[in-house]
Amino acid sequence: MKKNVIEVKNLEKYFEVSGGFFSRKKTTVKAVDDITFEIPFGESLGLVGQSGCGKTTTARALCLLDPKTGGEVNFFNNETSSMQSIDELEGEELKKFRRNIQMIFQDPYESLNPRWTIKDIILEPLNIHNIGDLDEREEAVSEILQTVGLTPPENYMPRYPHELSGGQRQRVSIARTLIMKPKFVVCDEPTSMLDVSIRISIMDLMLNLAKDLEVSYLYITHDLAVARYMCNRIAVMFNGKIVEIAETEELLNNPVHPYTKRLISSIPVPDPSYDRKVYDINFEELDSLIEKYGSDKPMIDIGNEHYIATHDVKGII
């Protein structure tokens, strides 16, 4: 039995939107609706879908950046060696929880304070959590810079973000994240702003760190090719719901849900002789199908730990 680092059950995040300035009527936008997944220690789960499908909202709800409106999130508590709901956390415990769950953001140009040096940026989490004395903190910064491949660290510590390239900045973000030795890191498209050539070195770095430091990732991306490289399992999200979840190769080889098929067939193939056929679906039809059959039923296992949403089974099989 694998131990899970995080378990998410029926996570919901609804936003209330007012109808207009004079209108009292409010409508709810179900940005994330009934999402369930778990991630075992040392494994990474890819969360894949189009822009606006709720990937980032899910991530922010998990990190307690935006409070969720429903559902359960349980996180592994090191001290008691058991799962603990994040709703119960308060004060010191909450602070400890935040050490164990960190986030890497999409845009390395906007997620680093331009007026701080690299040293200050990486030091900040240590200061906030009051870990070690000054010398130890500096030692830790120089160590983590080496780990993420920014050597020699003395050259980078006094620099400002604008002096670094995109790839180097993203390495700084990773260093800032990992200095807390988290068990779980949410990565929100960390390589989508980078060049193809740099992308692989950042992905390799993250994979190696996952192995060495036993970190689990929730890896958010819209590119299945990237997810394939990074993740053990992939969850496909459509309009706030997970429609299919399976082992990476299983999902790519035997996609069942029409949206997954569409997503896979939309990715350009780096081979001029390959004739790519796009699986055509009508998004509105799919949307109404999901609406009609509801989503309150659990997902169906079709074997090999390959789960699909129920609405789809009714529509297709």
Binding site: S51, R199, I200, A225, I264, P268, V278
Partner: protein, 324 residues
């Protein structure tokens, strides 16, 4: 055999900066035939967009084309006056800019902005003729004609990019440059836009110059391609040839660093290091410091540069071909 529409020969362009001259485009030569699509691929800062801007002569104020020629349908464009250029731009060559989000004036309706371009080039058209023209353009790129009366902020990213394509086609150009038209979009929208560009190109028999850092997109979109590194073209040839038989080490690395969803899962190779500074004179092979397996001659900086033919119409940098 179709004729060459655009011929670029030994183009050199540099930016004058306080730190010295930055040679962004070095001895770039290529030609694009009628109805053909030509891909330009390379990492950020390798000079792809500088080439595009030189073709339209829309480069920044501190940029100078020091030598070379750009001829469109036999007419030399380097050295043209601004008023002559105005006629060629949009009419002869047009461009689909990188960020569709920033290509529009936010306070003018989309239709009005396209009308502006058409009016400039066809001053004798009536208003109705122009409206019909825009409607037909929108139909071509699958946009509803009501979009004409919308402001840019009312459109989604994909719709804006479609409208930019319509704008680029508005004056019946011979050559369209697409400068990373899909970078800010997600995969499903990207796929739709790529299809749109392909469809329009076939329909109108356009010559297309497609610029991207994504080699997978280049594979699908182009007939001919060139790989750029540090301002120079290091490999050029038919797309399927370059993919099946890459000769330059940089091309090989690009191919091996691109993940794919089809086929076996491969271990990808990363490209270490930074691209070289383009300021000042360089000696020998610019790719040598990042090359996984450079020869002694290459490392010493004495290797001869310049493209040599390795197969029919397929050229690669001499140094790298000799390296093996």
């Amino acid at each position: 055999m179709s004729k060459d529409v655009l011929v670029v020969k030994d183009l050199n362009m540099h930016y004058e900066t306080l730190a010295g001259n930055v040679s962004a485009v070095k001895n770039v030569s290529f030609s694009v035939k009628e109805g053909e699509s030509f891909g330009l691929v390379g990492e950020s800062g390798c000079g792809k967009t500088s080439v595009a801007m030189s073709l339209l002569q829309l480069q920044a104020d501190n940029a100078k084309i020091s030598s070379g020629s750009i001829s469109l349908d036999g007419i030399e464009m380097v050295g043209m006056s601004e008023s002559e250029l105005r006629k060629v731009r949009w009419d002869g060559i047009s461009i689909v800019f990188q960020g569709a989000m920033n290509a529009w004036n936010p306070v003018v309706k989309v239709g009005e902005q396209i009308r502006e371009a058409i009016r400039e080039h066809y001053p004798n058209n009536t208003k109705n003729e122009n409206t019909e023209k825009i409607e037909s353009l929108f139909k071509m790129v699958d946009l509803d004609s009501s979009i004409m009366d919308r402001f840019p902020h009312e459109l989604s990213g994909g719709m804006k990019q479609r409208a930019v394509i319509a704008l680029a086609l508005s004056c019946d150009p011979k050559v369209v440059i697409a400068d990373e038209p899909t970078t800010a979009l997600d995969v499903v929208i990207q796929d739709q836009i790529l299809k749109e560009i392909k469809k329009v190109q076939e329909l109108l028999g356009l010559s297309l110059i497609y610029i991207s850092h994504d080699i997978a997109v280049i594979a699908e979109m182009t007939d001919q391609m060139a790989v750029m590194y540090a301002g120079s073209i290091v490999e050029i040839g038919p797309t399927d040839q370059v993919f099946s038989n890459p000769k330059h080490a940089y091309t090989r690395l690009l191919l091996e660093s691109t993940p794919s969803v089809v086929g076996e899962k491969k271990k990808l190779r990363s490209l270490e290091g930074e691209p070289p500074s383009l300021i000042g004179e360089e000696n020998g092979c610019s790719f040598s410091p990042r090359c996984p397996d450079p020869s002694d001659k290459c490392k010493s900086g004495n290797s001869e540069m310049g493209l040599i033919e390795v197969a029919d119409g397929h050229f690669a940098d001499k140094c790298c071909v000799e390296c093996g």
